[in-house]
């Protein structure tokens, strides 16, 4: 079967899953009390509460009794909350699939931190910050592969010997150490290391070394003349692609590009540490299995040096399992992003989630939107893994 047919089939399989995820978020959104949904959409109203009826003297001073709340009815109509559930579901799915994920509330934690996002569509705001998360993910994946595969292979080949035990301890410690703790401690450690106990930055006069490693963007004082470059918009979104490192390279500003990468190195390492812990065991076990297969014995009987046997014959075969596991654990990998971005102060989608849940009222539009986005990322990663698998293993391609 041709490769692209395989890809198309794989993509089609994904659609029910995506709709299922949106159904789950719909179920959760519907469980919200109506007042919460209205607050999230319109922002808190100091004059009238979001209840179905209010005492009439709030609307028309002097009248007794309870009247229907006009804001309430207007809001309910606008959000379509009085329609039957299946119809609401259909509308919701339709909206989600076309990218209409709601608006950022105008007095929530998100707008507290990112003021220009107030009132914007969620998709647009996410689009501002997604590239940074993707860059971080790419760097982390690179680090993961560089660390996990060689150590896993070494572990399998020298089974139960000191290096295997050390790798086992490494993988367990990576699993047991919470990422935020490791990240915070490493951040503090590096800050003190670079800046010394007085904490001054060696790169940027007038700043602390903390700001050299914390946050996506260098502070204004670090730029020559204290001025942001022109391609960094007011919301600190870069143009033209939105990916900061790539844009900096496009504009020739190598210092900025390097700076962004350095800021991403430590967070990428912390993320990689957690995932390597999980992956190492699988790499080792798959390698052990492959080393017991018949063709490895044939390769040895042919007289190939052991290094060649391991690297060429066994290594390529165990790569399949490694990639599959990477696809399966991608959900867990992505789930670590909000934490790491919060620790290191990076402006990515994960940090948006953190902003949304920090202060009440929670910004539900943003929460649900970013969750669906992350789910789409996981699904896309699984598709890529399957395609890669087909590419690497001729049995899948031609079988």
């Amino acid at each position: 079967m041709r490769l692209w047919v395989y890809v198309v089939r794989r993509v089609l399989l994904v659609i029910p899953v995506v709709i299922g995820v949106m159904t789950i978020t719909f179920a959760l959104v519907s469980s919200l009390p109506v007042s919460e949904r209205l607050i999230s959409y319109y922002g808190p109203n100091p004059k009238l509460p979001y209840t179905p009826t209010v005492p009439c003297n709030k609307l028309y001073p002097g009248e007794p009794g309870n009247c229907t709340n006009p804001i309430y009815t207007k809001g309910v109509d606008a959000l379509g909350l009085n329609k039957p559930i299946p119809e609401q579901w259909a509308i919701y799915i339709g909206n989600s699939l076309t990218g209409n994920w709601g608006y950022v509330g105008n007095k929530t934690g998100v707008t507290g931190q990112v003021p220009i996002a107030s009132g914007q569509p969620v998709v647009k705001v996410l689009g501002w910050f997604l590239p940074y998360t993707l860059e971080l993910a790419a760097l982390s994946l690179l680090l993961i592969l560089i660390i996990a595969i060689p150590i896993g292979n070494l572990s399998a080949v020298n089974r139960n010997r000191p290096i295997d035990q050390a790798a086992r301890v490494l993988s367990f410690s990576g699993f047991a150490l919470p990422a935020f703790l490791l990240g915070s401690v490493l951040l503090m450690g590096f800050v003190l290391l670079i800046g010394g106990s007085n904490g001054h930055s060696p790169f940027c006069t007038g700043q602390t070394s903390y700001t050299d490693l914390y946050g996506s963007w260098p502070p204004v004082q670090c730029f020559p003349g204290g001025v942001y470059p022109s391609w960094l918009n007011q919301g600190q979104i870069s143009s033209p692609t939105g990916f900061p490192t790539i844009d900096a390279a496009i504009h020739g500003n190598w210092w900025f590009a390097l700076d962004t990468v350095i800021r991403m190195l430590l967070p990428a390492f912390v993320i990689a540490y957690g995932t390597v812990a999980l992956l190492l065991r699988f790499v080792r076990n798959s390698m052990l299995e492959v080393l017991n297969l018949d063709f490895v014995r044939t390769a040895r009987a042919k007289g190939l040096p052991e290094k060649s046997v391991v690297k060429k014959h066994a290594g390529r075969n165990s790569l399949n399992v490694t990639i599959t596991v990477l696809g399966l654990t991608f959900a867990g990998f992505i789930a670590g992003f909000p934490i790491i971005e919060e620790v290191f102060g990076l402006y990515g989608v994960g940090r948006m989630i953190a902003f949304s849940v920090t202060l009440t009222p929670y910004d539900f539009g943003m929460i649900f939107g970013s969750t669906i986005l992350f789910t789409l990322l996981v699904v896309a990663a699984n598709i890529i893994v399957d395609v890669l698998y087909a590419f690497l293993d001729p049995r899948v391609r031609l079988g």
Partner: protein
């Protein structure tokens, strides 16, 4: 023709007198043998036993179970010569404190470590196992040692609750899916696909965020937390159990049971269930250690899981001890301090972090040892 009566295959295994040779017991002994040979697994088991003891102690420890009582701090004097491990300081209630930076805990027990450096309470008061809240200008000091011991109650209960509930739900669905097959299987598998595509932490946060507004009492919150985690975790168990059931279903003894007239329910109960749940035990033990880590992560992000900030639970304490604002204000204070002697109060995050770490790592050593001991291929 043949002279001897000795059968050609005389297998002599040491059999204890008086014990009925039963295959289950034999299997258990074999598993225990392989478990014992694994040093790391034994270390894990040891630490786990310590935690069980801690759990029991935490019920009888004289401190408040649902709130860490804050206390006043006094400012201190000159730094001591050893910045890493300051002197131990003890005194009885009613006596005069021997050194200026010696604090008495609310429970009346002596403080284990006395602080060394005097920084103003506006930044980080280096208290004995002390910790700050999110707002650096109005700090609440509390004793993390008490918090850790009392936290054992909450953390371990929540972990075990999550794991057991998740396992029950997951096993039920997994067995149903694996045994009945067909449309039921498809539906359940699609469901697990969907749930596994959503990153776990995010789903927990959403569920908590949606329902947290209406639930405010401590125990209700605890049940909400357990429920949120179960929502995220049942698919893993369901998958494991289902794949195991698919294997067990094809075994001869199931066929034999069917042939002798046993009906579905009985087969499920007596044959399939007991043989399919071994891998689940491994996964369960692994997950018990991860739950406090996830709660810590959620609190760190900013979502306050429990109704009050100074709730004695391992995750809450750890999360607050490394809040970014706290760290940043420490750096600021160091920069502006005249004497330039800044010693970062490492004990603030170290001990809570160490507790979480030891819990998770002991559990994972144990689970790993269990998995290796149960794996038939590795048994030689």
């Amino acid at each position: 023709m043949v002279e001897e009566e000795l059968p050609a295959q005389a297998i002599e295994k040491p059999v204890r007198r008086g014990r009925r040779p039963s295959p289950r017991w034999d299997q258990f002994r074999r598993t225990w043998y392989f478990f014992r040979r694994n040093t790391l697994a034994m270390i894990g088991l040891g630490i786990l036993i310590f935690f069980v003891a801690l759990f029991i102690t935490s019920f009888i420890y004289p401190a408040n179970s649902t709130e860490l009582i804050p206390y006043e701090a006094t400012n201190g004097a000159a730094p001591s010569p050893n910045p890493i491990f300051p002197q131990v300081c003890t005194y009885q209630p009613g006596e005069v404190p021997p050194a200026p930076n010696c604090y008495l805990t609310p429970t009346g027990l002596p403080s284990v470590i006395a602080p060394t450096v005097a920084l103003s309470p506006a930044t980080l008061g280096p208290l004995p196992f002390g910790s700050l809240t999110l707002n650096p200008t109005e700090p609440i000091f509390y004793n993390t040692f008490d918090g850790l011991i009392k936290g054992a109650q909450w953390s371990i209960t929540i972990s075990v609750g999550v794991v057991v509930s998740g396992a029950i739900l997951g096993i039920f669905l997994g067995v149903v899916a694996g045994f009945y097959g067909g449309a039921v299987d498809e539906v359940i598998m699609r469901l697990t696909d969907i749930f596994l595509s959503i990153p776990g932490l995010l789903l927990v946060i959403i569920v908590l965020a949606v329902f947290a507004g209406s639930i405010t009492s401590t125990w209700d919150r605890v049940f909400l937390v357990i429920g949120a985690f179960v929502v995220v975790w049942w698919p893993t168990y369901a998958r494991i159990v289902r794949s195991q059931v698919l294997v067990v279903r094809e075994q001869r003894y199931v066929e034999a049971a069917k042939a002798s007239g046993a009906r579905g329910g009985r087969i499920l109960r007596k044959h399939i269930m007991p043989n399919s749940i071994y891998p689940v035990f491994v996964q369960m033990s692994l997950d018990v250690g991860t739950v406090p880590l996830l709660i810590a992560a959620i609190v760190f992000i900013g979502f306050h899981v429990f109704p009050i900030l100074n709730f004695p639970e391992w995750g809450t304490i750890t999360a607050f001890s490394v809040q970014g604002a706290v760290l940043y204000s420490f750096i600021e204070a160091c920069q502006s301090s005249i004497t330039n002697t800044c010693i970062f109060p490492w004990w603030q995050f170290f001990f809570p972090g160490l507790t979480l770490f030891l819990f998770a790592i002991s559990v994972s050593f144990f689970a790993d040892g269990l998995r290796d001991a149960l794996d038939p291929r590795l048994r030689r």
